[in-house]
Symmetry: C2
Subunit: 263 residues, 2 copies
DNA sequence: CCTGTCATTTGACCTGTGTCAACCTTTACA
DNA sequence: TGTAAAGGTTGACACAGGTCAAATGACAGG
């Protein structure tokens, strides 16, 4: 099991912008999809070796994005789909009046930027929540390649579709769930995604603030904080600052099912 | 301007399941994308004549869906993308405990079923809210064709991307807007989509119940009803049952901007 | 090591929306 | 045509989550 940068002791991880260790940054320069350890999560999924090489050729640019910096901004011309090699992002949309809403949190192996395809301008902001590394995939060349490689085409369609299904899940969360259900769903989702990446299902660092969690879940930061405190009292989690330890995964799952009883 | 079936007098439209007039049903049998009057809204957008013919060949099936019937259900194997030729649909997802959430309302020229691509099983239900007609597009043949016709590929990607952007808009609505903003946004969205189809921006029939509107907007049906009543008092709309007349479009738009003042 | 800023927690109180109930209107169907 | 069921409106009231405020803790930068 690889060691999660998110998984140091609470004190050590309280700061999230520790620079990546040297051997990692070296690896990045040389790494192609073909030997990227995210290839089973990311765009190359299911590609044959020679197909993967052709995908490699597209990805001319791999860039660092520092914590707090934007990968792209709403309104900016759309050119690339981005694959996260390492790090953590949020996407958000801004209303004219200053209100904004976080529409998602993205981690390694996930794609960013698909919001830009429809108008050829990005519709949201993508901001790094920790120092990150990102592969830039020129979209129009990706389209061309996916006309030639059926597996790639299929996989890309599945990724977009999965995003649609995920968004519907968030709508249910925002439209129908109470505070505790939202928080439980949020934690279980993070846990499941960390697990898929070989990290601990129970311990991780939240890369986002309470306010960003609240924005995503349609809650105020105080409400998020209170829910965490309540969960802690009930021994469901142990949390201090950004360090999150889920003590009772089943307990969290039960929270999602409590409404059964009243139905 | 074509006459909207939605746009009869209130009394006449109160019933929504009037069978389509004969000349229409005849047309349906013969109609191909190439002479469908929705081709500028639907999948064929931008295709050359010969390309459109090839798309026509895919669409072997055009079916009626009666009001209340499902086009597909969650869990069902995914095979087709559906293009709405006429009528009106809702999509919804059901939680195990019986709570459900409407994730969208779809009208003529829009595509349904893209939620099924990711797992090859549908993730939501699509239900006709009035008698409708739908083109069945075998997805795997559509993929093949879009490998051959770049314009089709691009357009399909744009449609999926637009769905993602739309969903993000709904998240903002659910996460950040108050009742009046949600209702105003909902009405303006319908108005704009009817306009794009050549119908009146100001008068139309709501095909959905207050409960369905509420479900979509994360509100209870009583709250929707009260908001309509308040808007009516303020002379923003005139509504009786399903008949909706927007009296003051700018007034509705201002509701969306009221938060500017407090920011 | 000190200091200002930002993030978080907690309490007290308020308000918008949900809940429950009654009643009315329209529609579906026998 | 009558009747039951479904959809819609309105009022009274409750409560979940928001607002405001104060205090504390963490961390960056000098």
């Amino acid at each position: 099991m690889p060691s999660d940068k998110a998984l140091k002791t609470p004190r050590a991880t309280a700061t999230n912008n520790t620079p990546a260790p040297k051997e990692f940054s070296l690896a990045v320069i040389k790494t192609a999809c073909s030997n990227c350890n995210l290839r089973e999560l990311c765009l190359p999924l299911g590609l044959a070796d020679d197909e993967m090489e052709r995908l490699d050729e597209l990805i001319s640019v791999r860039k660092r994005v520092r914590r707090g910096d934007s990968l792209y901004r709403a309104g900016q011309a759309f050119e690339y789909i981005y694959a996260i090699r390492s790090g953590f992002f949020k996407t958000d949309v801004l209303l004219e009046d200053g209100r904004d809403q976080v529409t998602g949190f993205q981690m390694a192996g996930e794609l960013l930027g698909m919001d830009g395809i429809s108008t050829e301008f990005h519709a949201c902001n993508a901001v790094a929540l920790e120092d990150s590394e990102v592969c830039h995939i020129p979209f129009f060349r990706l389209e061309k390649l996916s006309r030639e490689i059926q597996t790639l085409q299929r996989h890309f369609h599945q990724v977009m579709s999965r995003e649609i299904v995920r968004d519907h899940g968030v709508m249910v969360l925002l439209g129908k769930m109470c505070v505790e259900e939202r928080i439980a769903a949020f934690l279980l989702n993070l846990s499941q995604r960390f697990t898929a990446r070989g990290f601990s299902p129970a311990e991780f660092n939240l890369r986002m603030t309470r306010e960003e969690i609240g924005s995503y879940l349609g809650l105020k930061l105080e409400t998020v904080s209170r829910a965490f405190s309540r969960f802690q009292e009930e021994k469901l989690i142990s949390v201090q600052q950004k360090y999150m330890h889920i003590l009772d995964i089943d307990g969290l799952k039960q929270i999602m099912n409590r409404h059964n009883q009243s139905a």
